[in-house]
């Protein structure tokens, strides 16, 4: 029999929370729940269930991610007092290089400082060892442990609602009762199924397949060919919205985003001239690829990702379209922690205080879809791409000018700003007029100079 009295759904001294999943969303929830509770002088306990060992190289310790911590998240974490250790940051990104069939240009980061971190969720691809650097997910888990969380390296197999909470069972038949269960299981369908019994109205997110692979190279070669730049490709290839090569220590990560990317689509991208010419000419890319995978990404958020004593966070609830999944994990994890500690753990509390945060992300994703549709049109047009490239090159050549197109592209590809913000800046006449002028100039060049 469920007790619906509101005081029954408030955390108090001695309350127990289980977080299923020790990725960024679970860790951010834990870190902030413990922090907020401490500020209120409340003693709660958090158990994080994570069967994976992030200290393993390759798929065993990997959470299938491009491995970028965005500028906005770096700034937010720095303000929270969380400074990523140099062991975790495989490279600080200080620019991105935009590659089109028409040419390439470097877009520098605002303030000329490294504000984006390239990292691995585990310790790295197959062939990586501890010497290459540490795991981002482990780093966050360690922060949680330092705050008092208990990490249990076991898989949760079932969750049953009882009169006074939710009881979880693990693979080794251990059982424990909790006041609140937090789902931070990403898009793992088996793990999401566990929530069907305790969160019956929950509708899981919609997904699509993406492609991630790694190239192992000597650090000197990576410095020479890629530098501290994220290489972004807007090529006219079917199914691919966006491709990026991200240098990290001894590896370069390739991320392809689009719709249902398969082996052939990935191969057409890797073998395109714009991509191939970035690598040393004598290198066979298949020979230096230790890992590749086709992970799912969230393209439409979950519905009703909460109930009494249950809340789902991160990819399991809402994410940012194509970008900044770790940033969305931070936003949703922190919002759920905020709700649980300050407003309670009832479905009504989550609906009132947590759902609006997820809805904001979803609304922003609608604009994101529009922005990527426009990008798709530009991607297919020689004229528009030449005009865009021309405008960006002109902006980058003028140091003290407001680089409007560059900054819109920077935020679109790095995931540093909300899509609404990018959209409004793109619609600014001070950007549109130079862009239209650049289109006219490119048209002239194409017609009269054949460029």
């Amino acid at each position: 029999m469920r007790d619906f009295s509101s005081e029954h759904f408030l955390l108090e001294d001695g309350s127990k929370i289980a977080v299923i999943g020790g990725g960024p969303a679970g860790s951010f929830f834990t870190y902030f729940a413990l922090d907020f509770a401490e500020r209120l002088g409340m003693e709660i306990s958090v158990d994080i269930y994570e069967p994976k060992d992030f200290n393993c190289a390759g798929p065993k310790g990997c959470n299938n991610c491009g491995g970028i911590v965005s500028e906005s998240l770096i700034q937010a974490l720095a303000t929270e007092g969380v400074v990523l250790s140099s062991d975790v940051i495989r490279r600080g990104i200080e620019s991105y290089t935009l590659h089109l069939e028409q040419g390439s240009t470097v877009i520098e980061t605002p303030f000329n400082e490294q504000r984006i971190a390239a990292m691995f969720r585990g310790i790295g691809p197959l062939g990586a060892d501890g010497k290459d650097g540490g795991s981002f997910d482990n780093y966050l888990l360690d922060l949680c442990k330092k705050s008092g969380a208990n990490v249990i390296h076991e898989a949760v197999t079932s969750a049953i609602r009882t009169a006074d909470g939710v009881t979880l069972s693990t693979k080794s038949k251990q059982k424990a009762r909790y006041d609140l269960v937090v789902g931070a299981v990403g898009l793992n369908t088996n793990a999401l199924d566990i929530f069907k019994s305790i969160c019956p109205s929950f509708v899981p997110p919609e997904t699509t397949k993406t492609y991630i692979s790694e190239f192992k190279m000597e650090p000197e070669l990576i410095d020479k060919h890629f530098g501290n730049s994220m290489h972004v490709f807007l090529l006219n290839l079917p199914h691919i919205k966006f491709g990026a090569l991200i240098p990290k220590g001894r590896f370069v990560t390739l991320v392809l985003l689009g719709s249902d990317i398969n082996k052939e689509i990935a191969s057409s991208f890797v073998n395109s001239e714009a991509v191939r010419k970035l690598f040393p000419p004598d290198v066979n890319l298949d020979d230096i690829t230790p890992c590749k995978c086709f992970p799912s990404i969230n393209v439409k958020g979950a519905k009703l990702a909460y109930d009494d004593r249950v809340v789902l966070v991160g990819d399991s609830a809402s994410s940012k379209l194509y970008k900044n999944g770790v940033g969305a994990a931070y936003i949703t994890g922190k919002a759920a922690a905020n709700t649980a500690v300050f407003n309670g753990i009832s479905a009504a509390a989550f609906k009132k205080h947590y759902q609006p945060v997820c809805s904001n992300l979803e609304r922003d994703n609608v604009l994101g879809k529009f922005i990527f549709s426009v990008t798709g049109i530009i991607q297919k047009s020689h004229l528009l791409k030449s005009a865009m490239l021309g405008l960006v090159i002109k902006e980058q050549g003028k140091k003290n000018q407001n680089r409007r197109m560059s900054s819109v592209l920077w935020d679109t590809f790095t995931g540093s700003a909300a899509y609404k913000n990018i959209f409004l800046r793109f619609m600014n006449p001070l950007l549109l007029i130079p862009f239209i002028w650049s289109i006219i100039k490119s048209m002239f060049n194409i017609i009269f100079k054949g460029k």
Binding site: Q75, T79, E80, I89, R91, G92, E113
Partner: protein
């Protein structure tokens, strides 16, 4: 310094903020150390030394006044800039972002009170 730290590199002795300049950013030290000092005539009065994960320049976020001290790198230091505009936009959505900042400012005030009582 390896390229796996964020922020901008300031060389030993390089000025990060100068007393009297307009303050529009908060700075968070990612690696290395800085010293905070004031100038009185020709002499320098050292106010504090700060290390990794500590921040400075926070007054510039909340006041319209100019920088009250000079900060320079002690050895090479990597320092991340948090710009005022972004800070306020973010804090508007998530006020809890200010907790750590307030905590640190409160701590600094307490330390200052102690120094005043001791002097």
């Amino acid at each position: 310094m390896r390229n796996n730290k964020l922020g901008r590199l300031y060389r030993d002795g390089e000025i990060v903020i100068k007393k009297g300049d307009e303050g529009t950013c908060l700075f968070v030290i990612q690696e290395g150390r800085v010293e905070v000092f004031d100038e009185k005539g020709d002499s320098e009065i050292k106010i504090a030394e700060l290390g990794a994960s500590e921040f400075f320049g926070e007054m510039g976020l909340f006041e319209k006044d100019v920088r009250s001290c000079t900060v320079r790198a002690q050895g090479n230091a990597k320092i991340l800039t948090i710009d005022k505009k972004n800070f306020y936009k973010t804090i508007q959505k998530d006020p809890t972002l200010a907790y750590k900042l307030l905590q640190k400012m409160s701590f600094r005030l307490r330390e200052l009170n102690k120094k005043v009582l001791q002097s």
